[in-house]
Symmetry: C2
Subunit: 211 residues, 2 copies
C-alpha cells in the first residue's frame, strides 16, 4: 500500500506546483491576465496536464481563493482575543481592509466578482458557520455579543443586518480603493485615513451615544 501512497503524494505535489505557479501569476496579473498555457509553461508541463488536477480554470482559481479565505480567517485570530466586542469589530474591519490591500487580486476574486458558486459544497459546509474560519460568521458573532452587551442603539437588534452593514462599509473602502485608486480625477486621501474615519463614523452611528 505504500506504493499507492507515494503515487498519491506525487500527484499532490504536482498539484501543489500548479497551485503555486498559478498563485504567483494570478496575484500579479489578475484572473483574465493569465492563461492555462502560461501556468503550464512555468512548471514545464503541457497545458492540458492541469486538467488532470483541476476541472477547469475556474476550479483552479477557486482552490486558491479557498486557501486565501483561510489566510483571511487567520488574520482574525489576533482580534479574537479582544474581550471588548466593539474593539473586536474595529480590529476585524482593519484586518479585512489590510487583507484587501495586500492581496488585491485575490480580494477581487473573492468579493468583487459574481461567481456561480451556488454554495453548499462539502468543503464550504465545513467553513461556513465556524467563527474561526468564516470571516462573516466571526463578525456576526462579535456583533451579537455587542448587541447582548447593550452597546448598540435600542432599535438595532438584528445581528445579521448590522453585520451586513458593517461589512459593506469596510468593503466599500477597500474595494473602491482597489478599483479606482489609479483614477486621477479624485484626490484620494490615504487609505488608512479613510479606513479610520469609516469605521469610526459607522460605529459611532450605530452605537448608543455616550452620555
Amino acid at each position: 500500500m505504500t506504493v499507492k501512497e507515494r503515487r498519491e503524494r506525487e500527484k499532490l505535489e504536482t498539484r501543489e506546483k500548479i497551485l503555486d505557479a498559478a498563485r504567483e501569476l494570478f496575484l500579479t496579473e489578475g484572473y483574465d491576465g493569465v492563461s492555462m498555457r502560461q501556468v503550464a509553461e512555468r512548471i514545464d508541463y503541457s497545458p492540458t496536464a492541469i486538467y488532470v488536477h483541476f476541472a477547469d480554470k475556474d476550479e483552479l482559481f477557486r482552490e486558491l481563493v479557498h486557501a486565501d479565505f483561510a489566510r483571511l480567517a487567520g488574520v482574525f485570530q489576533d482580534a479574537a482575543n479582544l474581550s471588548d466586542p466593539v474593539e473586536r469589530i474595529k480590529r476585524v474591519g482593519f484586518a479585512y481592509i489590510e487583507f484587501g490591500r495586500r492581496y488585491p487580486n485575490h480580494y477581487k476574486l473573492m468579493f468583487m466578482t459574481e461567481c456561480p458558486l451556488t454554495g453548499l459544497d462539502e468543503v464550504d459546509c465545513e467553513l461556513k458557520g465556524n467563527p474561526e474560519l468564516d470571516a462573516y460568521a466571526f463578525l456576526k458573532h462579535s456583533v451579537q455579543q455587542a448587541i447582548d452587551a447593550g452597546v448598540f442603539r435600542e432599535e438595532l437588534r438584528d445581528a445579521e443586518l448590522l453585520s451586513q452593514t458593517l461589512w459593506a462599509a469596510v468593503h466599500g473602502v477597500i474595494s473602491l480603493n482597489i478599483a479606482k485608486h489609479s483614477d486621477a480625477w479624485v484626490a484620494w486621501r490615504p487609505l488608512e485615513q479613510r479606513a479610520q474615519l469609516t469605521l469610526d463614523a459607522i460605529l459611532r452611528g450605530l452605537l448608543k451615544e455616550k452620555s
Copy 2:
C-alpha cells in the same frame, strides 16, 4: 453639403445601432459574456464593421459607460433642488444605490473594475469638475456646503475625505450586493434596509450630535 451631412448622419445611425445592440447584450451578459461577433450578428453586420466606428471592444464599452455616467448624473438632478445639504447627500446616496441596482453590469464596469483610463481625455475634461455631470463633484459640493453650514463634527473639515468616505459607504452596499447577493451562506437583508441603515449610521456618525 447636404450630401456629406446625410452620410454623416447615416454613419451616426449605424453607430447608434451598434451601441444599442451592445448595450442590450452587455446589460444582461456582462463584459466578458459578449463578443464582438455577437454584437455584429444582432444588427446583421460583419464583426469587423464595428471597428469602423470604434477602435476596439474597450472603446465600445466605454462609450456606453459614458452615456450611463450622464444618466447617473441625471438622477442627481432631483436631489439638486433640495436646499438642506445633508438631505441632499442622503438623496444622492440612495440614487447611487438605485442606479447600481438597475444597471448592475454598467455599475460593475464603472466602479468595480480597474480600467486603465488614465483620465484626461477631452471628453472627460468636460465632465470632471462639473457638478451637474460629475457625480463625485456633486457629492463633494454638497459636502462642502454641509461643512460650511457647520453640521459636521468640528474635526471633520476635509470635504475630500468626507466625500470619499460617504462614497465608499454607499458603494460598499451596492457593490457587495451585486457581487455577493447570490451567495446563499449569508441571510441577506433587503437592499433597501441595508441602504437605509448605512446612510443613517454613517451620517449620524459624521454629523454633530443633536443636543
